[in-house]
């Protein structure tokens, strides 16, 4: 029996992984070959998807990108024995792109059968939870704080401090909420983790519950991720059956129940207080802070809200210790970040690495330049609310503070590359347009400012009173940044200003023409 891995990740399926799996099954039957197909998560090398791996005595041998039409040829070449073929990538673990990463949070993604509890435990699953069960809630919070872990959703707030605040809040009923409303264009790590290693998130949620004194958790997943929703639901079911969730977590006195909530197409619900409103059954309108959700959150109870990757990182640091985790990274950005290389890149996908790598290394070494082969002109880091950076800024190290000081943000680690055909005036306009479309409408700077922003940029593009309108746009950006209730209106000026600062020529010249 030969084990063949074909990813079930929705990105792999988007380019034909299901059809490749079916072709392998059909041909194996025809040829009388004994093959077990395991649908794993994706290794995150998207340009090689669908990536087929065969288990051999030497290790897992990779072939990709495979089309259904290649399968007969792969059989003929003896791919079940790991033999050479034009699509052979050698041993998966030795592919330099992968080998040069620090896969901590993503260590199991692509390696295991996502819904196998046995596979999970065979790859260090539950070590963190078993350890947490021997600790006091305060000890867990302290260890998370010592690791230096900061919120991976984008805000970068220290996770341990947040948990301590919830732990110290009074009240018998507290909640743990996972923010899996990964709406930023250019980001897909939360999705891949949920599809590729769902038990890691479940384990982390239980640990969070123990740490803050909560017995109930919600994972809020956006509706644009139906595969992630289905995988998480199936994994939760299995976790209950295995006694990981329920009245006695792993036979302990801790109770933890976990539910999935599905969003409904509102970007703003990725903002934590809008998310709480949505779970409670209301419009996703942002709440004013204070009170902090840690004190008065879901249904008015103290609530720990964490991003998927922050939670997953907790299992890493509890498995290996706070010091191990803190030893990765630079300055106040400790540990690893799961960067996502996206857009016009030759080699896109997941690059998990310690903070501190420069943007240029990321683009040149990992992304390998653009897919179109044209020069890189702009890179948007941190989603629709992140700045556009020109190649002149490629020496910036990817760490929270360095990016803030450069008028940018690391955010959730999405890196979107554009080649020299991009019209940056259109990108600035889109930032305002997106804000206008997705604003919850609660505060005026965001709701009205974004609409005015589109109008002013249109005038600038049309060459109407350009100098005065650029001043007006700057003032509008000041107002939105200073006066908005949350990051939606508050950070929309970031991409707009970055265009004014680095790509001003595009605003002065007729559309589509730039040096």
């Amino acid at each position: 029996m030969t084990t063949v891995f074909v990813p079930r990740d929705s990105a792999a399926r988007s380019v034909g992984a299901d059809e490749v799996a079916a072709a392998i099954e059909t041909l194996a039957t025809q040829r009388g070959a004994s093959v077990e197909i395991v649908r794993n998560g994706s290794r995150g090398m998207m340009w090689l998807e669908p990536l087929v791996e065969v288990v051999t005595a030497k290790g897992r041998v990779a072939y990709g990108p495979v089309t259904p039409g290649d399968v007969a040829d792969l059989f003929a070449a003896g791919f079940l024995d790991g033999n050479p073929h034009g699509l052979s990538q050698g041993l998966t673990d030795q592919i330099p792109w992968l080998a040069e990463q620090d896969r901590l949070t993503f260590r199991r993604v692509g390696l295991v059968d996502p819904l196998s509890t046995e596979d999970y435990q065979a790859h260090d699953g539950l070590i963190a939870l078993r350890r947490a069960l021997t600790m006091t809630p305060g000890q867990i919070c302290d260890e998370v704080t010592e690791s230096g872990l900061r919120g991976r959703g984008g805000a970068g707030f220290p996770t341990g401090v947040k948990w301590r605040t919830v732990l110290d809040a009074s009240g018998p009923s507290k909640f743990v909420v996972c923010n899996a409303d990964e709406g930023d264009s250019g980001t897909f790590a939360d999705r891949m983790l949920m599809e590729g290693d769902p038990f890691m998130l479940i384990e982390a949620m239980i640990i969070a519950g123990i740490a803050v004194g909560g017995r109930e958790g919600f994972i809020y997943i956006r509706s644009e991720y139906p595969d992630a929703v289905a995988t998480m639901r199936a994994a939760i079911q299995r976790a209950y059956e295995a006694g990981w969730l329920g009245p006695e977590v792993l036979g302990s006195e801790h109770q933890f129940d976990l539910k999935i909530r599905v969003g409904a197409g509102a970007y703003i619900c990725g903002e934590e207080t809008a998310m709480l409103e949505s779970i409670e059954g209301r419009r996703g309108m942002v709440r004013a802070k204070p009170p902090l959700p840690a004190i008065e959150g879901l249904f008015g109870k103290p609530t720990a809200i964490n991003n998927v990757l922050s939670l997953a990182s907790v299992t890493v640091l509890l498995t290996h210790g706070a010091t191990f985790y803190r030893d990765f990274g630079v300055g106040r950005s400790r540990g690893t970040q799961v960067f996502q290389l996206a857009g016009n890149v030759a080699r896109g996908g997941i690059v998990e690495t310690a903070f501190g790598i420069t943007l240029g290394e990321m683009i040149d070494r990992f992304a390998g330049g653009t897919a179109s082969g044209r020069p890189v002109r702009a890179v948007q880091v941190g989603g629709p609310l992140g700045a556009y950076l020109p190649p002149a800024q490629f020496d910036l190290p990817l760490d929270y503070e360095a990016f803030v000081n450069a008028g940018a943000m690391v955010g959730h680690g999405g890196i979107v590359v554009f080649d020299d055909t991009v019209d940056m005036a259109a990108q600035a306009r889109f930032a305002m347009e997106f804000c206008a479309a997705e604003s919850c409408g609660k505060c005026t700077p965001c709701r009205v400012g974004a609409v005015r922003g589109v109008e002013v940029i249109d005038k600038i593009i049309a060459g109407q009173d350009t100098a005065a309108n650029v001043v007006l746009l700057e003032e509008l950006c000041d107002l939105m940044a200073e006066g908005s209730l949350c990051a939606m209106g508050g950070l929309t000026p970031l991409p707009v200003r970055s265009v004014l600062r680095h790509f001003a020529d595009d605003l002065d010249q007729p559309k589509g023409v730039h040096p």
Partner: protein
Amino acid sequence: MTLRESAPRHIPWSEPTALQIVHAHLGEQGPLLPVLHALQETFGYVDPLAIALVANVLNLSRADVYGVFSFYSDFRSTPPGELRVQVCRGEACQSVGGRALAEHATSSLGVDFGATTTDGSVTLDEVFCLGNCALGPSVAVNGQLRGRVGADEFDRLVHPGTSNIGFA
């Protein structure tokens, strides 16, 4: 299998069924979103008649229910086309031709985003990110993700008789 065959089966609006759905969620905390999702999964849309019905059972005002229904772009008040086609308009897809694909989608189908073709075969929606940002431009057809979709591939996916799901 064609994508058309993969279309979710919806049943016509029925008040007793709608009532059953709402009652099935009564024990949940904050049941309104799960209720609206379940109604839409069953009927393909949230019938305007459902607003008062849901408000009544959940002890909310009709304004509350309508306010939530209308806030979220997923929920629709009319039956959808056989195929729900979502075209990603996010920046990562823009960087690899997403703007051109969006223009092609509206001209090829002859409808704007948010509308259904006159023959009721396709509902065209825009979406801001499908999480397939290294394999754009991305489109989802009845929830199934497709990557690297150019104009020809788009037409193959959405036009009747040609919409084979396979990649072979």
